[in-house]
């Protein structure tokens, strides 16, 4: 940046400035502020560890299968092993990372609206030429970038990693895992983002909202995991993770080649009805966004 010397006095700015897209500075500032907190760095480390662990597991599994292939085992067995291992690792990655991401979101996004209300910053925003949808878009962008960077992008990287390491025959089948996995990661990201912002719009303290969010996610996930095994199948729909897995699995069934589906010997536990799982996820997203929009509407008129 060039040095510039100004006289201490009021200087008019040249007129005719183009209007810039306001959500970006809102999102950038929110993320920069979150990054200054130690707890956010802890959340990032948690997500990075999960990514690293899954990456290492993936590498070990693929290499072990390749080694088995080089010792003369049947190619079909090697392929089955690689595809199954990669599929289960990627599915497990989405599950684990969704919870790690919920923890990180609680650090980054729980205070996005709550703290603005508590500190009076809402009035500060809306006394500028900012529209309600600019504010909402800025907050959604800030919160949405977190799962995008810790869930969607790492999923794609892990998949690329697996494709790169697998033998060509297996790599061809692994292509079928990309879109269902990405769909699952995107649905998970949208659910996490909308719910944290909805909760943040209801609360007035970021820390309280964050704790409620993480505990709520853990409780719903464990209820959705445990109760269906004890005969309460409806309880599976309580778990956002199980619903996400249902959507991703259905997409795999719809788009995967016959060979790929034959190679997959195990699938993650899912809910029986895809439609109900989609409805539950959409309801959660709509509820979060609805609360956010309602709150912003009641706080400011313009």
């Amino acid at each position: 940046m060039k040095d510039q010397v100004f006289a201490v006095g009021y200087r008019r700015l040249p007129g005719g400035r183009p209007r810039r897209w306001a959500p970006w500075p809102i999102a950038r500032t929110a993320l920069a502020l979150a990054w200054r907190k130690r707890s956010t760095k802890l959340g990032v480390v948690l997500c990075a560890m999960s990514l690293f662990g899954h990456g290492m597991a993936l590498a070990a599994q693929v290499l072990a299968q390749r080694l088995a292939g080089s010792r003369g085992e049947l190619m079909e067995g090697v392929m089955r092993g690689i595809v199954c291992d990669v599929h289960s690792t990627l599915a497990s990655f989405i599950g684990v990372q969704m919870l790690a991401c919920a923890f990180l979101l609680a650090m980054v996004a729980a205070g996005l609206v709550a703290e603005d209300r508590r500190t009076g910053a809402m009035e500060l925003y809306f006394s500028r030429p900012l529209r309600r949808h600019d504010y909402v878009a800025g907050k959604l962008l800030a919160a949405g970038l977190v799962p995008a960077a810790t869930l969607v992008l790492p999923f794609a990287l892990l998949w690329l990693f697996a494709i790169g390491m697998a033998p060509p025959a297996a790599a061809g089948e692994l292509w079928g895992l990309l879109l269902p996995g990405l769909l699952g990661a995107l649905v998970a990201a949208a659910t996490l983002t909308a719910t944290i912002l909805g909760l943040s719009a209801l609360g007035e303290r970021g820390r309280t909202v964050g704790v409620i969010y993480v505990v709520g996610m853990l409780v719903l996930t464990s209820l959705g995991d445990e109760l269906p095994d004890n005969g309460h199948r409806w309880a599976g729909y309580l778990s956002p993770l199980r619903n996400v897995q249902t959507v991703a699995d259905a997409a795999l069934d719809a788009g995967g080649s016959g060979l790929l589906l034959q190679l997959l010997t195990s699938r993650p536990e899912t809910n029986p009805s895809l439609a109900l799982a989609v409805v539950c996820l959409l309801a959660l997203i709509a509820l979060g966004l609805g609360v956010l929009l309602w709150r912003v509407r009641t706080e400011v008129a313009g």
Binding site: Q4, Y10, A22, T119, G120, L124, P129, A301, G302
Partner: protein, 309 residues
């Protein structure tokens, strides 16, 4: 025209915050005066488009604030009364962020933020988080945030509240510099008459949600009639007071014990006081002419309103 309001009303539940407010005002610095709860902040928020009025028209700098709040806010700078801040940001970042929210590119906003913080006199402290600031520093940062995008009208809500005399004086000096220089026009909301007297050339007086007066300070003082005289003398001046009242002058007790305040009837000069004193044998050692104070004019304007409907 800075502000043009026609029949603006706003109600919060049982509380009628604004009652058919109608006024037009222009000038380089306008004071928005009124006791606490008069509706000053509500009026400012309505002008900003933050609150929709229940009825009436609001035009700010010629723009309809109801239909086009974004364009109005682009031309306004607003410093709210409370400690509105974004915790974690430094003073410099807060001002630059305010600039970016108003559409300035990041680099321009940062340069402009430095410029505005120089203007308001916040030096090294600009790099510290805002939650560590004193009240005076907060007021300066809020002023810089309101000025960063070069508004045409600066709205300040109680900018001197909570400041010590030194800080208050500096802030008022700064507003005067803005008024006299190239800065924006100023709308200063306060209940401190001294601030308005020092900074403004026009004022709006509000009480219980109604505008009691809108116009220049000079006119307001002129409405109070001729100047007053303060009389002090030896012994009891009661006989002199009676004599002056018989001649048609308005007499009231002064602020000090034994003193009188006399407003002469139109056409009479101070010699009427001396003549009356000679006639009743009163001995005066002070006859001081005093211009109408804003406080008196303010009290009179509020007094005209009567009880709330």
């Amino acid at each position: 025209m800075l502000l043009a309001l026609h029949g603006v009303s706003k109600r919060f539940g049982a509380l009628q915050a604004l009652r058919e407010v109608t006024c037009e005002i222009d000038g380089r610095a306008v004071g928005l005066l009124g006791p606490n709860g008069a509706g000053k902040t509500t009026l400012m928020r309505v002008c900003l488009g933050l609150l929709p009025p229940d009825a009436g028209q609001v035009r700010v700098l010629g723009l309809d604030a109801r239909r086009n709040p974004g364009a109005v806010r682009m031309r306004l700078g607003y410093a709210a009364e409370g400690p509105h801040r974004i915790p974690g940001l430094s003073g410099l970042e807060s001002v630059a962020y305010a600039g970016e929210l108003c559409g300035l590119p990041r680099r321009t906003a940062l340069l402009r933020a430095h410029e505005m913080l120089d203007l308001v006199g916040l030096d090294e402290a600009r790099q510290r988080p805002v939650e560590e600031y004193s009240t005076g520093m907060h007021q300066r940062v809020k002023l810089a945030m309101a000025l960063v995008h070069d508004p045409e009208l600066l709205m300040l809500d109680e900018p001197t509240s909570g400041l010590d005399p030194g800080n208050r004086d500096e802030l008022l000096q700064l507003i005067v510099r803005l008024r006299d220089g190239d800065g924006p026009a100023v709308l200063l909301s306060t209940h401190l008459l001294h601030d308005v007297e020092r900074v403004c050339d026009a004022c709006i007086i509000m009480d219980r949600g109604q505008v009691r007066y809108a116009g220049s300070l000079q006119e307001l003082r002129a409405r109070m009639g001729d100047d007053e005289y303060v009389l002090r003398g030896e012994g009891d001046l009661g006989i002199l007071a009676d004599a002056l009242q018989r001649e048609g002058h308005a007499v009231a007790h002064g602020e000090r014990p034994g003193a009188l305040r006399v407003r002469l009837r139109p056409g009479a000069g101070p010699e009427a006081i001396w003549r009356a004193a000679q006639a009743v044998g009163a001995s005066l050692w002070q006859v001081q002419r005093r211009g109408q104070r804003l406080e008196d004019a303010f009290m009179a304007a509020i007094g005209e309103g009567g009880p709330p409907p």
